[in-house]
Subunit: 308 residues, 4 copies
């Protein structure tokens, strides 16, 4: 039983001695930045993540931090995105997930706070227009609600709109509960099948969409089975029992403990409704800065009809 | 100043003696059904509506009616749709409008209550599967929120999904306040530019999408200028003043009365939040019956409530 | 037929020569401030408003204004409240209206963004605690939803909590559509029976609650009959007909034009959902400044867990 | 570390041999009904639940069940409530919890679907009026949002309204994940301090409110620590280690596994947003039947403005 995580840095932690993976850690403004690059196909298979760059920005106390620190994180997200985005052309932001399921609503919440400009190009005064980058956005919803694969809808829209790149926002599942709402992962590998809180059936990648796909995600849940398994592992090593021998028994036990008829049980903060709103606000601020580098914050706020 | 309405039956009422238009009225189950057919290009120009069939189903007290009467209206909607839909092939329902603007949220509200089946085709048991018609649905949002024309997004999705027809749901503007939430218009002419509460920039028609487009709409607002103009017209005829002489003065007066800096003022019921929910429920019931004629009501309810 | 308005400044405009009423106008920071004092019982009867002070702050373009101007209005609201509030003791904010009816949701929306502190008094560090004023807040809902008069519920809570004053927030009806979302009325006379978008059955006043009641309101609707009547009045005076003679005919006409079976029709901006959010934000900012004069804006934001 | 549960039947299961507790199990219509009566003070202390009657109605597959089975559960809830309610006098329903936190929103969601009648008594036609029981309802919100204890607000309102009994609806925490959304507990002991998903600071009981309090609750979460502890206990017994010796080590381990800075982590179904709506619907149906035994279902639906 391989415990699932959508964070490359957690996959790497489980397999530290792997070749074909490089990883660097930086610290600035209270933020820990970890850059993982998966270079070889072999490493990609071992970590169950495609080759590419994965940058995680982590601030363990971000949700209780002051405005200044939240802005620092938004700025770090903007800088990271800035390195991965193509320099010219319209951009399309896709908010993945189910807006009616709190733990999976991050994508559509970010889209709601985004400055969308593609339609302003003919109506805005010339001075401003030259400083705007064309941005459009959609939150297409999930298969169970639309009857269509998200990837199918996005492909159709991308073919019409022809953006230079797609930025996909998604709620993730992590391995450690401490990652929930405190860590942002930005990657140039797009969205993989099976990933996200919603377990996407099809991926959104350069291969499927024909344009680069940058994915931005934040863990919102840990699967309940992970909590149980961690507790058992620690105990076994504590009492000196060899884990390997008991692996099968452990998996059976966990299945027994977590079993239920309600779909997957997840571990999530009780206040997830409030937290998702705050995280979405930070992501939207970061995206707006990255996508509109020639606007001031005041202009972004004014154009997005934002309250003070 | 031509007062705008999205209802063909109101356009016809303003121009009764027109040739190239036929109209029939039926009554059943407390419902008044008016069938207007615009046959000539000349009539189409005069009424500012394209050639085609327009069926309105009106029940003045529907929102206070008992369950039995609401079901009768849903059934009448289903029967009307049944005449206009292609007999085979998947169908795609598009909920137009802005989900965050109550008077324009009808389309996305209907989509939320719709039985979507296209993705069940491989997972459902054989007996049921043979009785299901494939239905998918999207509520793409409006230009100001997405930066993309609704028509642009729908075109892209239709090209991927290739349904046999599109059914577009929209909130309408009417001329008479008594029409609000009491009248359903079904037409085979699709959605026209400038129509709807949201004044769509581009239309959704067979010409733009390549497949037949059936539009289903319910008036949610009357423009405030209409109320003012009606009051003036009545008074003028009452006191015996010729309306023609005063037309210009009237328009100036109305502009003065209604002027404001908040976008268009609309006349709407104070309880519009509650009403839109009830109307959406009736439409969704009607659509579900029309799109799944081989399912019982109990099966529709069971399948639509209940993704586990 | 006396046309109803909840704004004292509009009542006064309809009866300019009245004795027992004083009125002063100031201008600062783009805001027009009008102070109306109704001094005599006779004037109170004529204006259909109780004796007391009514301060209106009006900024016609506030919703399109920049952050700096919105803050200036919030500051002006805070200053006005500061003059009317008792200097010591806990304060209770009551958000009136129906949260599920957009045009009547202002009160509950303001309460959602308010810094509530009464429960922090034993848990906060001493330095901060000495600078906090105790504030509690409730949005009790409306008669049709609770089966209880709002006044009845507020009386019960006030008897338990014993605040030094109550601040009641409400959505108002105005006479001129230009007032919608642009004008804030603050008064020391509390909430009167029949007032507000929701037409409260019982008032909230010093007499009924036993503590001073400051009311803060913003017009969200104009009754549709007002628009019709204004159009008629202007026309009559334009064509030189004496209004008095036609008053009865006018009222009959208006009833005919506006009639409907859906409760009261109101004139409101199509974008009211978005506007109510922005207005609520400005009011909450003003209230927070007034109720917590010894906190910085940064501290208020941090304590209310507000996103940046 | 005593693992917490709000279900008396789970407390009893952990201490099977206790005297002073009786328990009976019945089965009807696919529902398992367990009646636990805690009779002695000693048993009350051992189970950490006050003396009184606790009836749980459990249908493990209720959320996937057909309409007929959901109605059977609603009917069983109505019958159980019918035994505990006073025969005459107005009733007040209190929806506890935080409407903005999905796992704690059950109370306010039930109140939204309840038929409220107390205000109809003077306006309804005589024939109907004699068959109505007066019901009022409030969802007062939580301490962190209002600055007031829920119990404080309810006391104030109860003193004004003087109902014959209070029915309090609350989201519960259980010990077994299989209980989530499948079990309804009805008790005549009211709401205890520390109980519920929201951990109420003060209780709502006959002692504090002066009238009988019937509590109706449904588990929405299991605390994450419970999952971890269960896994460990099972393993220890599996490998034959005595649990008592390792109790302290286990608690330390669990603290280590579950630790986080986000408040309590809970285990909950990923689809909790959808589930809470369905459970609220069943509870509201059950309450409406119990509180209005002289109305038909059709009348209840019609009076509560419910869609079919």
């Amino acid at each position: 039983m391989q415990i699932r995580t959508d964070l490359a840095m957690e996959s790497r932690d489980c397999a530290e001695e792997l070749s074909g993976v490089t990883s660097h850690t930086y610290r600035h403004d209270g933020i820990e930045e970890i850059q993982v690059v998966i270079e070889s196909e072999e490493a990609a298979r071992a970590l169950n993540k495609p080759r590419g760059r994965y940058i995680t920005l982590c601030h363990p106390a971000i949700l209780h931090a002051e405005a200044r620190e939240r802005r620092a994180l938004a700025k770090a997200i903007a800088d990271t995105l800035g390195q991965l985005l193509p320099p010219f052309g319209d951009l399309m932001v896709v908010g993945l997930g189910n807006r009616h399921m709190t733990a999976d609503a991050l994508g559509s919440r970010v889209v709601e706070s985004l400055l969308v400009t593609r339609h302003m190009m003919d109506v805005t005064e010339a001075e401003l227009r030259t400083r705007l980058r064309g941005v459009c956005a959609a939150a297409p919803g999930v298969l169970g609600v639309t009857g269509m694969e998200t990837a199918e809808m996005v492909q159709g829209i991308v073919e019409r709109v022809r953006p230079a790149a797609v930025i996909a926002i998604d709620a993730l599942a992590a391995r450690e509960s401490g990652r929930i709402c405190t860590t942002v992962q930005v990657t140039d590998t797009g969205i993989q099948p099976g990933s996200g809180v919603g377990n996407h059936r099809l991926g959104l990648t350069k291969e499927t969409l024909g344009v680069p796909v940058i994915a931005v995600g934040v863990p919102m849940v840990v699967y309940a089975a992970v909590i149980a398994r961690d507790a058992l592992s620690m105990l076994l090593s504590d009492v000196g029992l060899p884990q390997e021998e008991h692996a099968q028994a452990m998996d059976a036990l966990i299945a027994k403990v977590v079993q239920n008829g309600l779909g997957d049980l997840v571990v999530t903060p009780r206040e997830v409704d409030e937290l998702v709103g705050r995280v979405a606000r930070i992501l939207a601020d970061g995206l707006n800065m990255a996508l509109q580098p020639r606007l001031t914050e005041e202009e972004i706020q004014w154009l997005s009809h934002d309250s003070p």
